[in-house]
Amino acid sequence: MAYRVVIVGGGAAGMQTALELKSRGIEPIIVERDIELGGKARGWHKLFPSFTPAGDIMQPIAQRVKDEHIRCFYGQEVIGIASDGVTLRSEERIPADAVVVATGFTLFDAHRKQEYGYGLYDNVITSVDLERMMNGGRVTLTDGSEPKRIAILHCVGSRDEKVGQKHCSKVCCITGVKQAIELKQMFPTADVFNFYMDIRMFGPGYEELYREAQEKYNVHFVRGRISEAAETINKRIQIKAEDTLTGRPLRMTVDMLVLLVGMSANYDNPTLAASAGLPLAPNGYFKANDSFLGVVRSQQEGIFFAGTVTAPKSLADTLAEASLTASAVDQYLKNKYNAK
């Protein structure tokens, strides 16, 4: 009989790990809190840096999970993990030979940065809202008109100790560049301003895309954090920042403000970690066994990680890591049962 591995979370990391395990002859079981698979990537419009539709990547993966008849539990919340299985909110226990934690991240709640007026002012939206609008085929202001001037703010809920988010969320810079280009493609005469602290173009093709945004699309990059946003009498957004490269305060009124929301560690990470006696990193993510050869291993034998549960990652990195996780699980099971 095949070894059985419970995967907590049915997003990109969980699904890909399940497929990789299945191809190794191991029986994966996905436990998903939501009523369907897909995680955060579901509903995303296009992926950086290639502008590949997210569905082109995610739908085949979900289809393969279905075709491979991988068992999935839906609407089930895992409240306890151990190397020999997981415990559900319903107190049901699913025994396993190993467990993979692929619970991902929580989107930073932009309401918490009150100074930007998200949820309060029309036309202050998040990067996720913009993806959904683009997916719906139409980006407009709330009154249905086209934006003529757009500001994109980097690092909302990242590198910000005021909201307990000390880490860099890694993917927002490139998302900001991607969305700026998409906005310029939709509204060629509009002015798009990206307000950034540092531009972190860590991946292949990212720096090239950044340069394309600057040079080809004439996206304006202003180094400085927007300190506050306020609504004007005609429902536009007044923003204040420092243009740190000229050393002067800068203000302008824009039609739309896009907040590039970062990745937060899941709120239930502490309880989940405590159930298995696992440590968390200072930023609240699960702590990998080491930063080099043990990135998918926990400090407990038999419990593994995949994807953004350990740190913010791009979808490409998440999918690549899933293979690594499957390989580590496979190796663990072989060692464990061959030794018997």
């Binding site: 309401h111 009150q114 100074e115 949820g119 309060l120 506050e228 306020a230 609504e231 004007t232 009498i233 007044q238």
Partner: protein
């Protein structure tokens, strides 16, 4: 602003009764009627126990923020105020001044973080006055207290913040002193970005709160910036920025909870009008600037001259007319016993033109 419920995330405990009242230096001189009105509203209209102690002094906050009063001194002065409160049998300390409110919170928190400073202050207080420091059970600004009782005041209201001629709610700009919640956001109702302390009163009493782009901006008071004449250009520039930003909304009046802000938003309008001819009121004159006690007093039916509203730079009569307040125009500059108290020269921001009784008498 009605969509905004985030203020409920910032709640602090406000005592319901038994207050020890600490006055404000600026307000006693510029808005003496407001402090009296506060005491009258609390004692007479609401029937709560509030003690106005003649023994307490300035908190020395202006001196402290202007670098003439050292930290040790202000801590000892603050300790003495708290000692007086305890001696009078009270434990809920309420401050009429925003600067003081910031100082009290800052000192208490410094004592918390650095216990040796509290010990040192206890020693100084004992040596200097023989008194014992007793820390208050609660600290609140007097606008917090008015906010707390806003529904009770609404129930006793003689009028609402509504234009009697149009039936429309009055458009009110609220301005919160920086040291109310920018130092300790949790010490203010609604936090620092969207303080609700004045907005809550305005809404409870029927007015509409104006959310304008520079709502959160400082009035420019800034201690050194008005104490030193050469720096006043930057002080007035900040009020100027706010007034420019709020004017398109045509506010009926401004209400502030800080002594300095109320003074400067009122008096800088005069200076700006005289400097470059700009006035910000929809009637081509100034925008009246009220204290929250004056706003509450008008709602409760107090006489505007009893509230001390003749002390304002910008005439309040247009607002009184909108509110349907009956007042005696001739009594504006008559003090106790009908004695003429003097009257300011006409200015671009002002509008009261009628000949007054005292002018006829003279």
């Amino acid at each position: 602003m009605a969509r905004r419920a985030s203020w409920q995330e910032y709640q602090k405990e406000i005592a319901a009764d038994k207050y020890y009242y600490a006055r404000s230096c600026i307000r006693q001189n510029f808005f003496p009627g407001s402090e009296k009105a506060f005491l009258d509203i609390l004692s007479n209209d609401l029937g709560v126990d509030i003690f106005d102690d003649p023994l307490h002094t300035s908190c020395t906050g202006i001196g402290y923020h202007s670098d003439v009063v050292p930290l040790e001194t202000i801590m000892t002065v603050v300790a003495r105020q708290f000692a007086l409160m305890a001696e009078a049998g009270y434990e809920n300390f309420i401050s009429s001044c925003i600067t003081s409110f910031g100082i009290y919170n800052e000192v208490l928190s410094t004592w918390e973080e650095f216990p040796e400073t509290e010990e040192r202050t206890r020693r100084y207080l004992k040596e200097a006055t023989g008194r014992e420091l007793v820390k208050p059970r609660s600290i609140a600004h007097t606008s917090d207290i008015m906010f707390y009782h806003r529904e009770a005041i609404a129930r006793k209201a003689k009028r609402r913040l509504v234009n009697v001629h149009t039936g429309e709610p009055l458009k009110v700009v609220e301005h919160i002193g920086c040291h109310y919640a920018k130092i300790f956001p949790k010490s203010g109702i609604g936090g620092s970005e969207f303080p609700y302390v004045l907005a809550g009163m305005i809404e409870a009493w029927g007015g509409d709160v104006v959310d304008y782009p520079e709502r959160r901006h400082c009035c420019g008071f800034g201690f050194r910036n008005y104490l030193v004449q050469a720096n006043r250009g930057s002080s007035i520039a900040n009020s100027h920025k706010k007034l420019e930003s709020m004017a398109p909304y045509k506010p009926d009046f401004i209400v502030a909870n800080c002594p300095g802000c109320t003074m400067f938003l009122d008096k800088w309008q005069y200076a700006i009008a005289e400097m470059d001819g700009t006035t910000y009121g929809a009637n081509g004159k100034g925008i009246p600037v009220l204290t929250y006690e004056e706003m509450a007093g008008l709602v409760l039916g107090y006489d505007p001259w009893e509230l001390g509203m003749q002390f304002h730079q910008v005439d309040v009569e247009p607002l009184l007319d909108k509110l349907g307040v009956e007042y005696n125009p001739e009594a504006k500059y008559l003090g106790v016993g009908g004695k003429y108290i003097g009257k300011p020269a006409d200015a671009a921001v002002n509008c009261a033109e009628q000949r007054r009784l005292y002018e006829i008498r003279r």
